[in-house]
């Protein structure tokens, strides 16, 4: 069929060219820069590959330490957001009845509003002249503003958990909606208590959704640099902030590229590992 062949190329060429030009090329260019000593002569010139940037990255403890902190913070935020989102998904999937649709919309509305403005709203609440402090001062409960709740990593983590809860709920809800409610009845008929029904039916079957939720929060959080800029202050910066600095103020594209490559390889590696873990078949029929 000649029409089909022409259609194939008409459909295939634009996305292929697009992905090569604006996804593959930039990532490869970044990879190439990370193996250069410096940018002498411009970006597109021949050069001798060197590992000097990576030696510096792994040699100086500060970068590696910051990466560990960022990965840890992202993991904590992802676990907490997923855990807090689970009861919401459970309510919507099994207990909300016909009101589930409207209850879901209400949860998602904040997620559709500006990320930057929501993060700023936390700043207005937590700041030393913010709502909480000025209210407590106004009613005379405190003399000095409480400063422990803004401009540190705790503030970054709290804000991010808040931002991600509705997002983390979606994959869990999708997984729970696929669970056949008759499984609970069968378990109950066989003498299972409500708690063990949850532990042995709902939880194992929602495992793929839980892992999806974890990664959907972990990946954006590990590369986060905006929230630390707004509520993190000088002690709250993350690995992403260092990358941002090397490409803006302290211009050093080669070292910044090496930092980015480590983050890219790390996250993609983690996701592949995660996908290996959640081969859905493993969870069906587990625990007899």
């Amino acid at each position: 069929m000649p029409g089909r062949r022409a259609t194939f190329w008409a459909l295939a060429l634009p996305p292929t060219l697009w992905l090569v030009a604006f996804l593959l090329a930039p990532l490869l260019l970044m990879a190439a820069l990370s193996f250069r000593a410096d940018l002498r002569g411009g970006i597109l010139v021949p050069w001798t590959p060197t590992l000097i940037q990576y030696e510096r990255l792994f040699g100086e403890g500060t970068y590696w330490g910051l990466l560990e902190v960022s990965v840890l913070l992202a993991a904590v935020v992802a676990v907490v957001a997923t855990a807090l989102a689970y009861p919401l998904a459970y309510l919507l999937a099994f207990r909300a009845g016909p009101r589930a649709g409207i209850l879901l919309i209400l949860l998602l509305v904040p997620f559709w509003t500006s990320f930057l403005l929501r993060v700023m709203a936390w700043k207005f609440m937590l700041g030393s002249e913010g709502l909480i402090n000025s209210f407590l001062g106004f009613v005379g409960l405190i003399e000095e503003p409480i400063t422990a709740i803004l401009y540190n990593r705790n503030a970054v983590a709290i804000t991010l958990v808040y931002v991600w809860i509705p997002f983390a709920m979606l994959p869990i809800l999708a997984a729970l909606q696929r669970v056949d409610p008759r499984l609970f009845e069968a378990a109950a008929d066989l003498g299972s208590t409500p708690l063990s029904q949850f532990r042995r039916v709902a939880l194992p079957l929602s495992m793929p959704g839980l892992l999806a939720a974890f990664f959907m929060v972990f990946i954006p959080t590990v590369g986060e640099y905006v929230t630390p800029l707004l509520v993190g202050g000088s002690s709250g910066s993350l690995y992403g902030n260092i990358i941002q600095l090397f490409f803006t103020q302290g211009t050093n594209y080669t070292f910044g590229s090496a930092l980015s490559m480590v983050m890219l390889v790390g996250t993609v590696g983690l996701v592949i590992l995660g996908l290996r873990l959640v081969q859905p078949r493993r969870f069906v029929g587990a625990e007899g």
Partner: protein
């Protein structure tokens, strides 16, 4: 929003309605927490003072009035709109192409094409942002609204591919076979049979891409030239406390606009 219509589960026997009071209280508590910042923003936008602290000095609509004369603010919102429209159209067109290829054609590089299209889902935005930034520097392309739109198209593509793909998988090939048996060429079949079927999914994909772009900051900050989008402009104005209420007033209006759009889209989809 695609999940909304399927979110209503079958009725549950009464004996299984345990734990509802606890879960309901939890839901209400979290919902309050989620809406608190939004309420604060609305309060800030009608607050007579430029800083939000107790006691409040009084309420005013002045900030909304001043908004009409704040050209730079309005222009940034217009820029956001242009970028979101461009990237939404591009991502939907490219994503539909990828989805059609994956479901309806056999070719060797299929896994590579699909993998590359959804790769941005697992690449942190800061990495994509700096990679594109370096690419544009190397190619001597000046940063502008176009470069932001390119970046947003890349990150919106996974969503458009997956949304159209799930719709295509859901419907039978029989209709296409029937059309071709009756003498329609393949391009005509695509246009007259497949396109109408996936049109709602394409609309949903376009809306998703639009909202992804409209609010995006991490990539836009790196790829913005002299013309800034609303989040980038907002960020640049944070240092000036006196400008803040106007920005937030616009933010509240944009929020209201986005929500109206999304609810309208949901309604349209249900009418079909």
């Amino acid at each position: 929003m695609a999940a909304l219509s399927s979110a209503v589960p079958p009725r549950i026997p009464a004996r299984r309605r345990r734990g509802v009071p606890f879960l309901s209280a939890y839901y209400v508590g979290l919902l309050t927490l989620l809406y608190l910042p939004l309420a604060i923003l609305v309060l800030f936008s009608v607050n007579a003072n430029t800083s939000l602290s107790f006691p409040l000095r009084g309420l005013t609509l002045d900030w909304y009035g001043q908004l009409l004369e704040a050209d730079a603010v309005i222009r940034s919102a217009r820029n956001s709109l242009v970028v979101a429209l461009l990237s939404s159209v591009a991502a939907t067109a490219l994503g539909t192409g990828v989805a059609l290829l994956v479901v309806r054609f056999q070719f060797r590089a299929k896994a590579v094409l699909l993998g590359l299209s959804v790769l941005p889902l697992i690449v942190p935005f800061i990495v994509l942002a700096v990679a594109l930034f370096v690419l544009f520097r190397a190619a001597h392309i000046d940063l502008s609204l176009w470069t932001i739109a390119i970046g947003h198209t890349v990150v919106a593509l996974p969503y458009t591919v997956l949304i159209v793909l799930s719709r295509l998988i859901g419907f039978e090939r029989n209709l296409e076979d029937a059309a071709m048996d009756l003498g329609a060429s393949y391009p005509a079949t695509l246009r007259l049979v497949v396109l109408p079927i996936i049109a709602p999914a394409m609309l949903a994909a376009a809306l998703t891409a639009f909202t992804v772009s409209f609010d995006e900051f991490a990539i836009a900050l790196f790829l913005a030239g002299p013309d800034q989008t609303f989040p980038v402009y907002l960020y640049s104005q944070l240092r000036f406390a006196s400008r803040l209420p106007i920005m937030i007033a616009l933010g509240v209006l944009l929020m209201a606009g986005t929500l109206t759009l999304l609810f309208a889209a949901d309604r349209i989809r249900r009418l079909r």
